[in-house]
């Protein structure tokens, strides 16, 4: 074994080890503490876990590439809400009244287009003004949320289309529709990041922007494409979720950005850019959902979930730094 292989292996596998630990803990603890007759590792329960991971998970894939690129997007929750409203409201527009169920693909396309455009707007501002992505998306988080409220006030926007609900609740080859979307998004983004020029350039930009500029690669378009992808995925997440629920509150998606960033950081992606893996993000998403479900299974309430997730996030950051500390030229003080 090469020196350093062990620590690399530890880092790569850490999130999966953590998931296994969670599974063991909740299975054992569930035997004593749970009021439910069912075991935690029940097949139905695990299938549900995947389905419930989908809304956060789909956005987390986009957040990973934005963060690998060295940026961040805080506006995903608001983009999610706007796309959901466009999805549900456009199905009631008189313009599409004659389409019958043909309105579904139109509504989906409109929602996805909305998300992509909002992402493109963020990307364009970051690119052309040079303002930090944190500030730009902090602003658009407020701005997009304002648009959500201006659209329908504090009223929920509702529309149930039963064909759509049936589709969203269906199971294909045993997996829920939402799970399929999560898996497809994961696979697509994995392919993008590992098998295309765009992906390689994104890693390079996050790692050393000056070198990339000197190599003659244009940084701006890559950045903008990433913001469009995360906007698209935020909209996709909304499409998947609201096709089933059929009603969106103007507050929906609030704090999603925090959950998504937590999942991505748990998966080992660096905020400084240049490093991160889609598969590990997938692990991070599962780990968070497992934690929420597991704690609920053993009878803990939301307050404990918040507390535990916050502390785990800090602990992961600490451990990660301890593992990385060697080889870095850090200032000894």
């Amino acid at each position: 074994m090469q020196p350093g292989t062990l620590s690399t292996l530890l880092k790569r596998g850490a999130i999966w080890g953590f998931i296994v630990l969670e599974l063991i803990f909740f299975t054992v603890a569930g035997e004593f503490l749970s009021l439910s007759e069912k075991a935690f590792m029940d097949v139905d329960n695990m299938l549900l876990l995947f389905k419930q991971s989908a809304p956060i998970g789909i956005i987390a894939m986009g957040m990973t590439i934005v963060m690998v690129n060295g940026n961040i997007d805080l506006s995903v929750g608001a983009t999610y809400a706007i796309s959901a409203i466009v999805l549900l409201d456009s199905m009631t527009w008189p313009l599409f009244a004659g389409l019958g169920d043909g309105v579904i693909p139109v509504a989906w396309a409109l929602a996805l287009l909305t998300g992509t455009l909002l992402g493109a707007l963020n990307g364009l501002i970051v690119w052309k003004t040079g303002v930090d992505a944190f500030i730009v998306t902090l602003g658009s988080m407020l701005g997009y949320r304002g648009l959500v409220f201006m659209y329908n006030g504090e009223q929920p926007t509702s529309h149930l289309n039963w064909t759509l609900v049936d589709f969203a609740e269906a199971q294909w080859l045993g997996l829920h529709t939402a799970t399929w979307f999560l898996l497809i998004a994961t696979a697509a983004i994995w392919f993008l990041m590992n098998r295309t020029v765009h992906g390689r350039n994104v890693y390079a930009i996050g790692d050393n922007r000056t070198a990339v500029v000197n190599a003659g690669i244009r940084v701006g378009p890559h950045m903008m494409i990433n913001f469009m992808i995360i906007g698209f995925l935020a909209a996709l997440s909304a499409v998947v979720f609201y096709s089933e629920s059929g009603s969106v509150n103007p507050n929906d998606g609030e704090l999603y950005e925090l959950w998504v960033i937590t999942a991505v950081v748990l998966g080992g992606t660096k905020l400084t850019g240049g490093s991160g893996s889609i598969i590990s993000t997938f692990g991070g998403v599962l780990a968070i959902q497992l934690l929420r479900k597991g704690l609920a299974h053993i009878g803990a309430d939301t307050s404990t979930v918040n507390l535990v997730i916050g502390l785990i996030l800090i602990a992961v950051l600490f451990l990660d730094r301890q593992l990385n500390i060697k080889g870095k030229e850090e200032l000894k003080v």
């Binding site: 500030i135 602003g139 988080m141 407020l142 304002g146 201006m150 500029v213 916050g310 800090i314 600490f318």
Partner: protein
């Protein structure tokens, strides 16, 4: 006046752009609605901005030192809930110092993680946002907190009282702004905060104990949050667990609007106060003009980006970013 070149005007706008924008807004809203400059209206705006403003003062320290604090919102909920709960249990005289001590402990914990363990402040405070929210819910059992005797308690003076004809929240805000402003601009500690944020390595080499400075900045932030919690609790005498939710980003918006750079090393208390007031007056002005409440979010979005953009553009001498 012949000596005023384009560069000088540009430089003035870059340095004092936020003040210019402030004046332009005030004139615009006054023309649109004469009630805008009414003393009662102005007092009302400042009063309702006081809670946000007090929190922004502390976050200014953290941001100048080159870090972020996203936990102030949930920490404020925590302080509010704790002081309301203790008010009935041990009386206001003891409840207030107890609440301050508990909030400062949280601040010290964050300061320890970011300062001494050198963990990334964004992630640490993100984690603490969630953790403190959980702590608050555990403390209150998820229930709203209310004071039993709302009429008889002197505790309401911090949020509802007047002294010398000025509402107490404004007095607290001004007092803290003056004290912290002096601390930042007139003392060695203040210079150290700028040094650590501007160039941490250089600061360390010149013998500044960086960890201790960052730690103290988070203590300042917690102190301000506790004061804000006190005002909030005293104003409403009852509270939900989520009273401060989302405030962290509004606070940060105010600080950025005041011209503090997220990279650290720049910003002043005075400009943060201006940033807070701009947010408050825009909100009020848009309502007086007759627009929907939510329009302010969109306007804030545009203003934040414009403010930061012009600031950067003035520094680099070009309007558009050089990114290819």
């Amino acid at each position: 006046m012949a000596g005023l070149t384009k560069e000088q005007i540009g430089g003035f706008l870059a340095r004092q752009g936020i003040l210019v924008a402030f004046v332009v807004f005030m004139i615009g809203f006054t023309l649109a609605n004469a009630r805008f400059l009414d003393p009662d209206n102005i007092m009302g705006v400042v009063r309702s901005s006081a809670i946000l403003g007090v929190m922004a003062l502390g976050v200014t320290f953290v941001v100048i030192s080159g870090n972020l604090d996203l936990s102030v919102g949930s920490m404020m909920s925590f302080s509010t809930i704790v002081v309301l709960d203790l008010h009935d249990k041990i009386g206001p005289t003891l409840a207030i110092p107890a609440m301050f001590a508990m909030t400062l402990c949280l601040g010290a914990f964050i300061g320890f993680l970011v300062g001494y363990l050198k963990l990334n402040s964004l992630i640490v405070t993100l984690g603490m946002l969630s953790a403190i929210h959980g702590l608050t819910l555990t403390y209150s059992g998820g229930k709203n907190m209310d004071i039993a005797d709302k009429e008889g308690t002197w505790f309401k003076v911090f949020g509802q009282g007047d002294a010398l004809g000025i509402p107490v929240p404004i007095l607290l805000f001004v007092l803290l702004a003056v004290v912290l402003g002096a601390l930042l601009s007139k003392t060695p500690f203040g210079r150290k905060v700028y040094a650590v944020g501007g160039n941490g390595t250089a600061a360390t080499f010149s013998g500044i104990r960086r960890a201790r400075v960052v730690f103290t900045c988070y203590l300042m932030s917690a102190l301000c949050v506790a004061t804000a919690g006190l005002i909030q609790a005293s104003r409403s005498l009852g509270s939900q667990n989520t009273v401060g939710q989302g405030l962290e980003l509004e606070v940060l918006a105010a600080v950025i609007l005041g011209g503090a750079s997220l990279m650290g090393g720049s910003g002043t208390i005075f400009k943060t106060v201006i940033g807070v007031l701009i947010l408050g007056f825009i909100q009020n002005g848009l309502l007086l003009v007759g627009l929907q409440f939510y329009v302010q979010f969109v306007v804030t979005w545009v203003i934040i980006i414009l403010a930061v953009w012009l600031d950067i553009a003035a520094k680099r001498g070009k309007l558009w970013s050089p990114i290819a």
